[in-house]
Structure formats: structure tokens, C-alpha cells
């Protein structure tokens, strides 16, 4: 379990993390979202003993990482940013080094090394010095080292950063596999689709403050502004577009094609039916009426805009 209690971190006059309180229950996967400079990486750095906190507590399995980092990190695997490896070591040697530091026996290290290298598809380069690796290979190895000792908690900072599309799919697959093994995973990401695909819950922060924290499904319903794609059976003329724009709760109407409009709409998910009725009442024979983009994205944009 991860618990942040009134966590604060200031860099001079800048408050990077502002009274952040958050609880990640055991065996859940939580996405940590926010724009650049929101305080995501700072929070993760505090959790992984890379920087200290100005005040507050960051508990990993009940142990405060600020006051007792060694004990707190005993059962934690972490990938923060894209770490660099010692170029003179091979993946096998690197995993052996980290395994020994984590107190694993030589037998455990040997068997787990084979497993994680297979898992992150790095077996082929097991004895090649890391100095020659690409960023994507290093990122995969970074995930591998985080899994080596089968930690209870995984902390991942943008785990698919630097990977090609295939690598991103593979990493998401690994995370989904780990979810089934009941790891507690806390991951930051810029990719909202990735969070929706892999996480049970998401926390949104901006300016170091927690904006919202809930289940992914519940979050999607929270959004006030959403985009709906309206497709008519025939071309929709400009006067009709003007009338749709004048409907209650419609913020903006964009034309995607002769028959298709994208309507930006402010209101609850439930009241979406009123909009459909309004459009039909204007005389459009609607053949398709569906949300555009991800619910989380809409919420993200909504909340971040509000907080700025």
C-alpha cells in the first residue's frame, strides 16, 4: 500500500507538491496524471528516495520513505524517468548487482534474471554491455530490474516513454500481466489512453495539488465537457449548424465533413439524450451519435483548465 499524507515539496519559492494526500490500496493499479510541471515526477522522486520532502509523509507498506528509506524501499521496484545504467556492465551483471543489494540469494538472482529478461524480451542481449543499448532497450531493462525481486509495489514514471509503438504495447501488456499477479502499481503517464487501458484508478494533479482521484469509470462520468460526433443521413447545411449551436449546453460546433459535425457539449452524461432529441428536432436524421475522444481526456482537459 502507498500512502501520501499532506506531502509538500518546495524548490525555493516554487511549490512542486502542495499538501498532497493520496492512498493507493494494495493490489490496485493507479495512474498518476497531470500536465508538465504538475508535480508527478517530484512526487515519485520523493517516493523513491531520490529527493526529500519538505514536509508530510510518504508511506510504502506503512514505512515512511523519508525517515527510513532503506526499510521502505525493501519491497519496491521502481523505474523513474529513463534511468541510465552502468555502461560497463551487462544486463545479467546489472541484475546481479541490484539483486545482491536487495538481499536476494545467488540462486534467486539467477532464476529471476532469466525470467525477467525473457519477460522484457532482452534475453538476446543478456551478455552485451549496456553501453551499446538504445533508449528503448534501456527502458525495457529498467522495467526488468524493477520486477527482479518481485516487489509488492511497483512505481513507474512514464514507463512507456522512449519506446516505439510495439514496445509501448509490450510494456502495457507486462503491466496488465502484473495486475493479474496483484502487484500494487503506481504509474505516472502523459498517455491518457494508456492509463485508461491499464489502471483501475487515476489521480489527477496540477500545481502539486490533487484535483481528483477515483475509479477510471467514475472519472469518465465526472467530466462536464465532452465532444460528440453527430452524423446525419445527408449533408447538414450551415443554417442547421447555426441552430444546433444555439441549443442549450452546446459550447461549439465544428464541421468534420458535409454529413458530420463534432459538437462540444457541456453537461452530464445522462443529459446527452436531450441533445440528441434537440438535434433531431431541428430536422437532422441522425444515423450516428457517439462520444469523440476518451472520457478521461475530457476530464483531464476540463480539470486542468479549471485549475489554471
Amino acid at each position: 500500500m502507498i500512502e501520501l499524507q499532506q506531502l509538500n515539496k518546495s524548490f525555493g519559492p516554487i511549490k512542486a507538491v502542495d499538501d498532497l494526500t493520496l492512498k493507493v490500496e494494495k493490489s490496485t493499479t493507479v495512474g498518476f496524471l497531470g500536465p508538465n510541471g504538475a508535480g508527478k515526477t517530484t512526487t515519485i522522486k520523493i517516493l523513491t528516495n531520490l529527493i526529500g520532502a519538505t514536509s508530510g509523509r510518504a508511506l510504502l507498506n506503512g514505512v515512511d520513505v523519508v525517515s527510513d528509506p532503506k526499510m521502505a524501499l525493501a519491497h519496491v521496484g521502481a523505474v523513474v524517468e529513463t534511468p541510465e545504467f552502468y555502461p560497463f556492465l551487462t544486463p545479467v551483471e546489472t541484475l546481479s548487482y541490484l539483486g545482491r543489494i536487495r538481499g536476494m540469494s545467488p540462486q534467486d538472482i539467477s532464476s529471476r534474471t532469466n525470467e525477467v529478461l525473457q519477460q522484457v524480451k532482452m534475453e538476446q542481449w543478456r551478455s552485451t554491455r549496456i553501453g551499446k543499448f538504445s533508449k528503448g532497450m534501456k527502458q525495457r531493462l529498467a522495467i526488468g530490474q524493477a520486477l527482479l525481486h518481485e516487489p509488492d509495489i511497483l512505481i513507474l514514471d512514464e514507463p512507456t516513454s522512449g519506446l516505439d509503438p510495439r514496445g509501448m504495447v509490450e510494456v502495457r501488456g507486462i503491466i496488465n500481466d502484473l495486475k493479474k499477479e496483484h502487484y500494487t502499481i503506481f504509474m505516472s503517464s502523459h498517455l491518457l489512453g494508456e492509463v485508461e487501458e491499464t489502471c483501475d484508478k487515476a489521480a489527477l494533479i496540477d500545481h502539486g495539488k490533487l484535483l481528483v482521484y477515483d475509479d477510471i469509470d467514475s472519472l469518465g462520468k465526472l467530466t462536464k465537457v465532452m465532444k460528440l460526433e453527430v452524423v446525419g443521413s445527408s449533408a447538414i447545411n450551415d443554417s442547421v449548424v447555426g441552430r444546433i449551436s444555439a441549443l442549450p449546453s452546446v459550447v461549439q460546433v465544428e464541421r468534420a465533413s458535409q454529413q458530420t459535425l463534432v459538437v462540444t457539449y457541456e453537461g452530464s452524461v445522462e443529459s446527452r439524450g436531450d441533445l440528441l432529441k434537440g438535434v433531431q428536432a431541428i430536422g437532422v436524421n441522425v444515423i450516428s451519435f457517439s462520444p469523440v475522444g476518451l472520457p478521461l481526456e475530457a476530464l483531464y482537459m476540463d480539470l486542468v483548465k479549471e485549475s489554471r
Binding site: F11, M71, A78, R100
Partner: protein, 371 residues
């Protein structure tokens, strides 16, 4: 995926600091064993030692040779400094102008004819102390006034002179080791981002610091040991022996290595860039501290607290007896020659090592990977 059993996971405790220390040491040392820096240091050792060994003979100053028919300047006297009165009468002494001679090869001639030792009834050879130098002296027990005394003998350089020639390079070698193996050891974890891999592990920063430091010292120790081992072999060949205080000199060298490395680690914990840390470490030892030492001698204020001044004990320790401070008045100018006190030098270097390690570790603990 094969999973570790819950029992095995439960058994896996957080390792102790003591057990983590050799792990860090081992993998850090591997870094040096696989890096160009260690090999560069060894190549520097070999190149400089070859140069020092070959250059004097090439310039006409051999380490050994044979003097044939060399005239001995005889001084009539009845006493020999440092030699107690014995059951003999001294008539004169003659000095052989070489630091070491092969006593068995010595043949003395009087007016061109062999002048035998005759069981010590004609003359005997003695090492006599004149000030801080000891010289071979023929003590004549017969009146040789008016005779021309010549001698033939094999000579060779003394271990002290031979080793001193090389040891002037030892402190520079240690500075190179501190720069190569210590200057960027800490700062590179931040600048090269390897800290992102290592710090989020159940290991104290102080253990990382000490593990890395001991690996750096080990790498430096290997280089210094090679230097002293090669010097010992060369000394055996050229000076037919090793100075009595050779091992003490090695001890001072290792102590200076530890102190210099600790200072390098302190600098590495303070600065934010590898280049700055490397340049500052190197120039601190080759320029800044030696300037302080020179000013000390010029101004007449002996600064025992200088690390490089104390390190000179590794050279002076070979001198027999150990040199004492001298003040030479040249009229308009007074020249001071200061030598570090043997005990104080050891204490000073230990103090530098300890203070730098404690402060460096404190700063490393507080340093944040915020970039």
C-alpha cells in the same frame, strides 16, 4: 512466469549495511577494471618509470660503474668524526666520492704500488657521518704523508638516492589516481543519471558512498603498488638493495592516496558537473596546495596542515637521518627548507581523510536528484 513462493519472499529480509558494502565495492571495482582509466594509470607508471630509469644513463649519469686509479684526497688527522678512539693510531683519512661502493672490489695503491689492507694494520674502510651525509672513508693507520694514494673500486648508486629519484613522481601518480578514480565518482551518479537506477533501492547512501570510496582506493592502491613493486625491483638491480625505510614510504604513499581520494570524493559530492570536479581535484593538488607550500617556505611560516606538504614525508623518510628544517641566510634573502614532521604528517593526512569522508558523506546524503 515462474513466481517466487510466498515463503521465499517472506524469508528475504533487508540486507545489512555490512553485507551490502562489499557488493558495492565489487561492482564499482569492476567498473575500474573495465575502464581505460586503470590501464591509463598503469601505462603512465610504466612510461614515467622507464623514462626516469633510462634518462640519467643516457645523459651520462650512470647508476653504477668502476673507478680505476682514482686519486684519493688524503687529509692528515688523528681523529675521525663519529668514531670512538680505538686501539690504533689514526694518521690520515681519505674520502671516496661515491655513495655506495662494493667493498670487496676496493684496491688501494700507494705511489702506484698495491697498498694492501693487511688485516687492518695499514688502513681500513669506514662509513663516516659528515652532517646529514654518510661517506666511505679510508682511515690510514700509517703515515702516508707525501705519498700519492689512488684507489680502484666498483661503485653503485645508493638505494636512498635511487628511490628518491623515482619517489618525486609518486605523489603526482597518487594525484592522478585521485583524479581518475575519485573526482567524478559521486557527481557522475547524478550527471549520468545512474542514480535513478541505484538510489531507489534498499541501500543507504552512506553505504553506497563507502563502497564506492573503497573501490576507488583499491584501484588507486593497485596502481601505487605496481609503482612501488617495480621500483623495488629496479632498486634491487641498480642499487643492489632496498632502502630500510622503503616500506614506511609505501605506507605514507597509501595514506596520502586515501586522504587525496577522500578530498576528491568531497569535491565530487559538492560539485554538479564531472568536468568541474575533475579539474578542481587535479589543480587543487598540483597547483593550489603546492603554491601554499612554496609560499610557506618563502614567508618562513611552516604550514604542517597542508596535505601535499605532509605527503612529502613519503620521500623524506628515505633520508637517513630524517632531514631537519633549515634556514639559510643569503644576505638579502633567507631561504627556508621545511620538512614535515613524521608523526604530524601521518596525523595530518589521517585528519584530511576522516574530515573529507564525513563531510562528503553528509553532502551525498543530502544531495537530491532533482534535475
Amino acid at each position: 512466469m515462474i513466481m517466487m513462493t510466498e515463503e521465499l519472499k517472506a524469508q528475504r529480509n533487508v540486507p545489512s549495511d555490512i553485507s551490502q558494502l562489499p557488493v558495492v565495492w565489487r561492482y564499482e571495482l569492476l567498473k575500474y577494471l573495465r575502464s581505460w582509466r586503470l590501464y591509463a594509470s598503469v601505462i603512465i607508471v610504466i612510461a614515467v618509470m622507464a623514462l626516469l630509469y633510462l634518462l640519467p644513463p643516457l645523459l651520462g649519469e650512470s647508476y653504477s660503474g668502476t673507478d680505476t686509479g682514482t686519486e684519493v684526497l688524503v687529509t692528515p688527522t688523528t681523529t675521525v668524526p663519529g668514531m670512538p678512539d680505538g686501539p690504533y693510531t689514526v694518521y690520515a683519512v681519505g674520502v671516496l666520492n661515491r655513495s655506495q661502493i662494493d667493498v670487496d672490489s676496493l684496491v688501494v695503491y700507494r705511489d702506484g704500488a698495491m697498498y694492501p689492507f693487511a688485516d687492518g694494520s695499514n688502513w681500513f674502510l669506514s662509513e663516516v657521518q659528515y652532517g646529514s651525509a654518510s661517506v666511505y672513508t679510508i682511515v690510514f693507520l700509517q703515515n702516508v704523508t707525501g705519498s700519492v694514494i689512488t684507489a680502484s673500486y666498483e661503485w653503485y648508486i645508493s638505494p636512498e638516492s635511487f628511490e628518491t629519484l623515482f619517489l618525486n613522481f609518486a605523489s603526482f601518480l597518487i594525484i592522478i589516481c585521485a583524479t581518475f578514480f575519485g573526482a567524478d565518482a559521486i557527481v557522475s551518479e547524478f550527471q549520468n543519471r545512474t542514480g535513478y537506477l541505484v538510489f531507489p533501492n534498499p541501500i543507504k547512501r552512506s553505504v553506497l558512498f563507502l563502497g564506492k570510496f573503497s573501490a576507488s582506493v583499491t584501484a588507486g592502491f593497485m596502481v601505487v603498488t605496481i609503482f612501488y613493486a617495480v621500483l623495488a625491483v629496479l632498486s634491487m638491480i641498480s642499487a643492489r638493495g632496498i632502502d630500510d625505510d622503503f616500506l614506511l614510504s609505501f605506507g605514507y604513499a597509501v595514506e596520502f592516496l586515501i586522504a587525496a581520494m577522500a578530498v576528491a570524493y568531497l569535491i565530487s559530492s559538492v560539485l554538479k558537473g564531472s568536468t568541474g570536479a575533475t579539474v578542481l581535484t587535479f589543480f587543487l593538488f598540483v597547483m593550489i596546495l603546492p603554491i601554499i607550500d612554496s609560499v610557506s617556505a618563502f614567508s618562513g611560516a611552516k604550514i604542517e596542515a597542508s596535505l601535499t606538504f605532509s605527503a612529502d614525508a613519503m620521500i623524506h623518510i628515505l633520508a637517513d637521518p630524517y632531514p631537519v628544517d633549515q634556514v639559510v641566510d643569503f644576505g638579502p634573502m633567507i631561504l627556508n627548507s621545511y620538512y614535515p614532521d613524521q608523526v604530524l604528517a601521518a596525523v595530518t593526512m589521517a585528519a584530511y581523510a576522516l574530515a573529507s569522508l564525513v563531510l562528503g558523506m553528509y553532502l551525498f546524503n543530502r544531495k537530491q536528484l532533482a534535475g
